[in-house]
Symmetry: C2
Subunit: 239 residues, 2 copies
Amino acid sequence: MPPHALQIACSHCNLRELCMPVDVTAQDMERLDTLVTTRRRVRRGAPLYSRGDRFTGLYAIRSGFFKTRVTTEDGREQVTGFQMAGEIMGLDGIVADEHTCDALALEDAEVCEMPYQRIESLSHEVPALQTHVHKIMSREIVREHGVMLLLGSMRAEERLASFLLNLLQRLHARGFSEAELVLRMTREEIGSYLGLTLETVSRTFSRFADEGLIEVKHRQVRIVNGAGLRAIVNTTVGR
Amino acid sequence: MPPHALQIACSHCNLRELCMPVDVTAQDMERLDTLVTTRRRVRRGAPLYSRGDRFTGLYAIRSGFFKTRVTTEDGREQVTGFQMAGEIMGLDGIVADEHTCDALALEDAEVCEMPYQRIESLSHEVPALQTHVHKIMSREIVREHGVMLLLGSMRAEERLASFLLNLLQRLHARGFSEAELVLRMTREEIGSYLGLTLETVSRTFSRFADEGLIEVKHRQVRIVNGAGLRAIVNTTVGR
DNA sequence: CGTCACGTTGACTAATTTCAATAACGGTGG
DNA sequence: CCACCGTTATTGAAATTAGTCAACGTGACG
């Protein structure tokens, strides 16, 4: 019944250092291998979970790319983040045993499911796991502070530059180029995340290109002048 | 040496149900009483902690009112939240053993300090505490999603109305009036939190007053038409 | 090869910021 | 107790940013 149970051992996963605590004994690692019970494939456009779904556990992204969004009754929507391999999703569900946002795959993806009960019980046996879970949640809180800073006090150019630099840095940590990336989301999704309209995102991309900072061809972006991008984030006067 | 050790028992604290897990046995409650080691007074304007401070533990607000803010190298600042009695502060420090934001008292305050080591070790003995800590962090993540929605997709009137309603609801849960409040922060601090200038905040207050929704006299706010305020949040077209 | 979703660009509009002047309060010290 | 000062708040007018509406390209995919 447990599908390819041997394949999904975290101890042999090349993303381990992104998802898992680093300093664990061989014995603890063996226990941590029981954390992930199943892998789940999510097709592009499909939800990993939706608002109102019962919370069952957390997900570690094995491959693929997601967005999370919150929505209001009157249909407004705000993208709250984009997630890539090695990142943990589902933290919003813990507080009320129910998810409060939607997680949607922007490309075909695979996730490792970690039942919450198991996380809790394993945390007792493996203190490093408990600390790790706290750190993951704390990191998410700090990340969101950064988004609040972006949304609350930056102008369009700074927001987009920050966004690009952030994506690049995370991709770089995963072995990708520091100077090139393929956007997995539409201009509208970028705009929602950054609190801008899709037109403003498009125009700002064009302006960056005109200024020789980047080259944009649809979703293919090449960084020509990284220092220039960084300068936009740091030196613009803002509001 | 432990200062007034008997006074600071959570089991006898009237804020218990705000800070602490509810379903615990008498025996567990006794253990939880060892969580808070010290009380600390913070004078108005003084920091509870600052960016770069070593992370030592979490704080439960016993009385008083705080703001948290993140700042950039170039001096920009974003208020990330306002905290009142019963709420937990310091979660940002867990991930890197160092605080990433400033917490400042907006009025004389008193907090209960819970050393992080003790939280971790007690979580092993008392599973309800572990769950509770997770829920507190998850709640903070969900709260921040709400702020992102506000900053990313609401216009000035909606932001301010949401802000007022949120404050009122939290104050009401603490036994205060649902229709009246005293703001503990300046227009500038409200503006920073809401991603607006202090002038826009002031003007929007005035507009609400003109429309008969509220009465404002400096920091004293009386809600005249709560339904009207709620309507602004729900029905405005937004962006 | 046509259709549809996505992206770009332009012209105009609206919301919010900026700059500036004035007013009101609250704490401090005479 | 009152006057004064600095801080906080209000309001107006001008400037600016980003949004809205609209038209047109372009690519991907069946």
